[in-house]
């Protein structure tokens, strides 16, 4: 890994930002900082980071809006830093496009582990093509090229959504529990918040399914988890 991964830290608390900078540099990242929500998007375009750390409570534009704005033009991984662990806040953040979240006060090791999990897929190199979904309208996944095609049209997925789809597609018909998906896709070692999985499955479905209400690619197995639809 020759080039240090670039991190954009969007946080209005200067002490926390500085401390994050120290920790990130120690762990081999190259951080950039922005304190104001309204300047976050511009900073994102300028720095072209590999990953974004985003505080939800910001002056100017709220973290949720920044998250939407970034997601609208890029699939760059976003990890929310939040002080609220209540369901509503977390789900709102995830639905606006964040890939993962850490609740303050977090341990630096935990944050670094999550960041590495989100950056990990860049290192995968393997020639692999997967096909899932119904026969008349299959979803074709070119793993090294990060491309998903259905009915001749390319579907734009974020890296995380792509990882989730690939994880399911590699073992079609196997049922994945939410805990297993958390470990494989998000890199969690301990069982944690399964809301992450639910929200991202919904987002994935809204992109790959013909009718998200009646999924045929990513199927729910009641009381257990999810599995890929028959190829």
């Amino acid at each position: 890994m020759g080039v240090k991964p670039r991190v954009l830290v969007v946080d209005d608390d200067s002490a926390l930002a500085e401390m994050l900078g120290i920790v990130l540099r120690t762990d081999g990242f190259e951080p950039a900082f922005v304190a104001d929500g309204s300047r976050a998007l511009q900073a994102f375009r300028e720095t072209k980071p590999d990953i974004v750390l985003l505080d939800l409570m910001l002056p100017g534009l709220s973290g949720i809006d920044v998250c939407r704005a970034i997601r609208a033009e890029s699939g760059t991984p976003i990890i929310m830093l939040t002080a609220k662990s209540d369901t509503v806040d977390v789900v709102l953040g995830l639905e606006s496009g964040a890939d993962d979240y850490v609740v303050k006060p977090f341990k630096p090791k935990e944050l670094i582990a999550r960041m590495r999990a989100r950056l990990r897929h860049h290192e995968e190199v393997a020639s692999e093509t997967l096909t899932i979904g119904p026969d008349e309208s299959p979803v074709q996944i070119d793993v090294p090229a990060h491309q998903v095609v259905r009915d001749g049209k390319a579907i734009g997925l974020t890296p995380l959504e792509f990882d989730l789809l690939v994880a399911l597609a590699r073992k079609p018909r196997q049922v994945f529990t939410r805990e297993v998906l958390l470990e494989q896709v998000w890199g969690y070692r301990h069982a944690a918040d399964t809301r992450l999985v639910n929200v991202h499955v919904q987002r994935l479905r809204s992109k790959v399914e013909r009718d998200p209400e009646r999924p045929e690619v990513v199927l729910t197995v009641r009381g257990v988890g999810y599995k890929a639809g028959p190829p």
């Binding site: 608390d13 002490a15 926390l16 401390m19 994050l20 120290i22 920790v23 120690t26 409570m57 830093l81 002080a83 609220k84 209540d86 369901t87 303050k104 006060p105 977090f106 341990k107 630096p108 090791k109 069982a191 009381g223």
Partner: protein, 550 residues
């Protein structure tokens, strides 16, 4: 409730009834009784529930009795007056006729019937000619010798005759015939003795009372009709007045009902300034005050929640910075001089404790604000216990305690919020390790159809009498002098109790000085089910018995 007894018709004497008919009759009676009972019940129900009906019925009853009594008196007075006047007129008629009759009868021989008949006609024409004030009448003449004239069709009562024969003027009401072939009707008979040469004649004036009877009947009808009209009128007035009072009361009752159901904006429309309006106004004032109080409490609760959330955010951000700085120092403590290295260690461990305390405080304030929500799913309790035991392995080794789990071989599925139940188990286990003095900790899981239970038993110092009730108090410490390896926040058991309550479950403690303590968590296996009993006893002495049985 008064049950109307069904009337039992008596079998008529002398009528032979065959058995089949008896049965039929009984059935009919049974059905009639049922109908009677049910209508009596319906009536009693209406009576109890309608003020209007009660007032109406009472008014009708009282007015009816009063009108009846007055009517009877009135009719009695009027008819008595009419009859008295008739009697007076009749007597004076008889007196007027006495002289004429005496002169006519003087010449008549009582023994000759033709003479008597002629005399009667004579007297009659005389009396009619002189005009009369007592109305139409007929005359009968009798004599002591038994010869009578034109009186064959009229029965003069014997009592009256005796009186007249004793030379008295006598009056009696008796049935008479107006014409010889006519039917008997009410009448007045006046009898007077007439002294004749040949002996004593009895002269009777027979007055029919037809006109008087008609008048009295008319009076009776009038009194009856006006009485009925009066009762109906009073009933109408009573219903109208009651309605005026009852309707606002009903409206108030309905409004109060809606208010109680939670619609605090309900009010009564108030017209005027009378008593009913005052009732409505007071009711509205009460509702308004209630609404203000509840709003104030809601605002307070909202503020409390806001505050909790704000404190959370404001504290967490600097804490994150401190935490990261501490981690950095802690990771490099080997490079520091010994004092600085130890300081970094202390900073690190106390930060953990501070963080735990902050988390617990926020959690309990969430309970206090009533915003804690259950996120239930069906989970195997054994798995959750396993995870908790595994997570406490390091702590158990430090305490030197062995953890022994006794669980059934089948899944113990429970509808629960696994995050909260795991927290309860973690707190119970941490508590047991804390006070277990390095002796084994026993965890037992049991379930029946409705409930699942976990007990955590330690064999440490135990609890003093009265303490099992105190251990769930916030910041309660059994023995302040004892050191605590886990550095518990003092809120763990209080939060656990709230967590258990949120599941409609039980969390209870048992302990004896020197014999250790046991905590029992009992959860309903299905959400919404009310716990009746626990599959495990709270006192471990009973547990021993159960184990022997198995």
């Amino acid at each position: 409730m008064t049950e109307a007894q069904p009337e039992v018709p008596e079998d008529q004497p002398g009528v032979a009834i065959v058995p089949k008919a008896v049965e039929f009759w009984r059935r009919v009676r049974g059905r009639a009784a049922e109908r009677l009972m049910s209508s009596a019940r319906a009536g009693a129900h209406a009576w109890r529930h309608s003020l209007q009906l009660r007032v109406g019925m009472t008014t009708v009853l009282v007015t009816g009795v009063v009108v009846f009594v007055i009517g009877i008196m009135l009719v009695d007075q009027v008819s008595g007056g009419i009859l008295r006047a008739k009697k007076q007129a009749a007597v004076s008629q008889a007196k007027i006729g006495l002289a004429s009759a005496t002169s006519v009868l003087a010449a008549v021989d009582a023994g000759v019937s033709g003479d008597v008949e002629a005399a009667q006609l004579q007297i009659k024409s005389n009396l009619t000619a002189s005009g009369n004030s007592a109305g139409l009448f007929t005359i009968a003449i009798e004599s002591g010798s038994g010869i009578s004239a034109a009186a064959t069709s009229t029965t003069i009562p014997a009592g009256l005759r005796t009186l007249v024969q004793q030379n008295n003027l006598a009056v009696q009401y008796a049935p008479i015939r107006a014409t010889p072939s006519g039917k008997l009707e009410r009448g007045l008979i006046v009898g007077e003795p007439v002294q004749a040469r040949t002996g004593l004649f009895e002269l009777y004036y027979l007055f029919p009372l037809t006109n008087e009877e008609q008048t009295i009947a008319l009076v009776q009808r009038t009194v009856l009709l006006s009485g009925l009209a009066l009762v109906l009128l009073v009933l109408g007035i009573a219903l109208l007045v009651t309605r005026q009072v009852v309707r606002p009361v009903r409206v108030a009752a309905q409004t109060a009902g809606r208010l109680a159901a939670g619609d605090l904006s309900q009010r009564i429309k108030v017209h005027g300034t009378d008593d009913i309006a005052r009732l409505g106004q007071s009711f509205n004032d009460m509702a308004g005050s209630l609404q203000r109080q509840i709003r104030r409490l809601e605002d307070l609760s909202r503020l409390q929640r806001r505050f909790t959330s704000d404190v959370s955010h404001e504290l967490r951000t600097p804490l994150t910075t401190i935490r990261m700085a501490s981690e950095l120092l802690h990771a490099n403590r080997a490079e520091f001089p010994p004092e600085l290295g130890r300081s970094a260690e202390l900073l690190h461990t106390q930060l953990d404790r501070f963080e735990a305390l902050l988390g617990d405080l926020l959690e309990i304030s969430r309970y206090d604000a009533g915003v804690a929500r259950l996120e239930s799913e069906t989970v195997d309790l054994r798995g959750l216990v396993g995870v908790t035991v595994e997570a406490s392995r390091v702590l158990a080794e430090r305490h030197g305690s062995e953890i022994i789990v006794s669980e059934p071989e089948y899944p113990v599925t429970v509808d629960m919020d696994s995050r909260r139940v795991e927290r309860i188990l973690r707190n119970l286990l941490g508590n047991a390790l804390d006070h277990g003095e390095g002796k084994p900790i026993e965890i037992t899981i049991r379930c029946d159809d409705d409930a699942a239970a976990v007990t955590v038993r330690d064999h440490g110092v135990g609890l003093r009498p009265g303490e099992p009730g105190l251990v769930f108090n916030r910041f309660w410490r059994g023995d302040p002098s004892r050191s605590r390896l886990t550095g518990g926040t003092g809120l763990g058991l209080a939060i656990s109790l709230e967590d258990a309550r949120l599941h409609d479950g039980w969390l209870q403690a048992w302990g004896e000085r020197g014999r250790g303590a046991q905590f029992r968590l009992t959860l309903p296996r299905h959400a919404g089910h009310t716990l009746m009993s626990s599959p495990l006893p709270l006192n471990p002495d009973d547990t021993d018995d159960v184990d022997e049985d198995e």
